[in-house]
């Protein structure tokens, strides 16, 4: 059996604004459907940790950073297009 890579995400949100809430819901749903038991999500609220956002050059919220597997990839927006997510993460079969 080939061991599939584990996905590590960091999602920058801005409190409970509509876009941010949508993005985290969409990401959770996507991971449950396409990456079951092989994903990790860290959610960072820029309102709580503005310096971290600056250090990571995150200026638009929501911003999703795929940290693993390498290379890093960035996506902005509510993550509403499942097909685009699959393509960007290289999960299309």
């Amino acid at each position: 059996m080939i061991r599939q890579p584990r996905f590590k995400f960091r999602l920058y949100v801005a409190g409970t604004t509509q876009n941010s809430t949508r993005a985290s819901a969409n990401l959770t749903a996507f991971c449950t459907a396409h990456l079951p038991h092989r994903h990790e999500i860290e959610i960072v609220d820029v309102l709580q940790q503005p310096k971290r956002a600056m250090a990571d050059s995150v200026f638009m919220t929501p911003t999703l950073i795929k940290l693993a597997p390498t290379p890093d990839r960035r996506m902005i927006g509510t993550l509403s297009h499942t097909q685009l997510l699959l393509e960007t993460l290289g999960l299309e079969t």
């Binding site: 993005a23 969409n26 638009m60 919220t61 911003t63 960035r74 996506m75 927006g77 509510t78």
Partner: protein, 324 residues
């Protein structure tokens, strides 16, 4: 100070040419007026003059122009002057150019950015990555929260958003673009920051911007049509910066020539001393050769003498009795 000389010229005209009297007195009232508290001076003489002291204080000014017309430099000049002269630290949000390039460009103008960058000027690299994927709507809350923290930390009073069209182009629709401009503008007003937002002329982004009712002025018209005063000033600054750069290059060239000449002289001296050394070695060698030869000669002479003496000794025992 260029302003002084302008005033002086008008005063001269006043005496020699009575018909220019009205214009002259008008100029005098402008130049004699104390710094306007409602205005944030840009440090660009011509611009401050035609705007009666600079940009509206605590308000947002939109600057629209063609690529290469000097929008970035105008914004940067506004921040550098604020930091150096008006005790108003500033933040530059760069959506298009990398901060490294901005700093390098500023050095061409003779503005010492690295000194200011420590406390009074902060450049945010906000260029979207080329491979950035956009899926759905987003907003600027992240940027504004990060800027809020930074502005508080350094006490920033001025801010420039350079090439906002780059960021606006990523937003999915006109509604989102309008909403984010509104968010940005409201944020700026609430903090009473004197701001400049620049954008490229033409395209959807610029038109969505010019629709927005900014509290400051929109410089698109003055900038693109009949904006000779403003453009003249900026052009003059650009040209003088180029002139300075050329002069610096020339001096550097001269200095290099001098250094090369000195190096050449040193090498020449070295070559000469090496020649002398070579000569000395040659002399030494011949001397040594000669010494060896003369020693050899001496030795052989000595040997011959010894042989002679020995020969004499050998013969001596026989001859001795005879001699005795």
């Amino acid at each position: 100070v260029p302003g002084e000389s302008v005033r002086h010229e008008f005063a001269n005209n006043d005496e020699s040419c009575p018909s220019a009297f009205h214009g002259a007195s008008f100029m005098k009232t402008i130049t004699r007026r104390p710094p306007n508290a409602n205005k944030a001076s840009t440090g660009i003489e011509g611009f401050d003059e035609i705007t009666n002291g600079g940009l509206p204080h605590g308000r947002t000014t939109l600057l629209v122009g063609q690529p290469g017309s000097g929008k970035t430099i105008f914004g940067l000049r506004f921040l550098v002057f604020g930091a150096q002269v008006c005790r108003e630290p500033g933040i530059f949000v760069a959506f298009e150019e990398a901060s490294k390039r901005i700093v390098a460009n500023a050095e061409g103008f003779g503005w010492k950015l690295p000194e200011l960058l420590i406390k009074k000027l902060y450049i945010v690299d906000a260029q979207p990555q080329p491979d950035l994927v956009q899926t759905g709507d987003f907003d600027l809350s992240g940027l504004l929260t990060a800027l809020e923290a930074k502005a508080k930390e350094m006490g920033a009073r001025r801010i420039v958003f350079d090439a906002i069209d780059i960021m606006l182009a990523l937003l999915p629709d006109a509604t989102a673009k309008r909403r984010e401009m509104y968010r940005l503008h409201a944020w700026l007003l609430e903090r009473e920051m004197t701001a400049i937002i620049t954008a490229k002329a033409g395209g959807d982004e610029a038109s969505s911007l010019t629709e927005h009712p900014f509290t400051g002025v929109t410089l698109a018209d003055i900038y693109t049509a009949g904006g000779d005063v403003l453009m003249g000033t900026l052009r003059w600054e650009k040209e003088s910066a180029e002139r300075v750069a050329n002069e610096v290059a020339e001096v550097a060239g001269k200095l290099k020539r001098v250094t090369l000449k000195a190096e050449e002289a040193v090498l020449r001296v070295k070559a000469k001393s090496m020649d002398t050394e070579l000569l000395a070695k040659q002399v030494e060698k011949t001397l040594r050769d000669r010494t060896t030869q003369s020693r050899k000669g001496e030795l052989s002479r000595g040997r011959i003498r010894m042989r002679e003496l020995r020969g004499a000794d050998k013969r001596n025992p026989k001859q001795k009795p005879e001699n005795l």
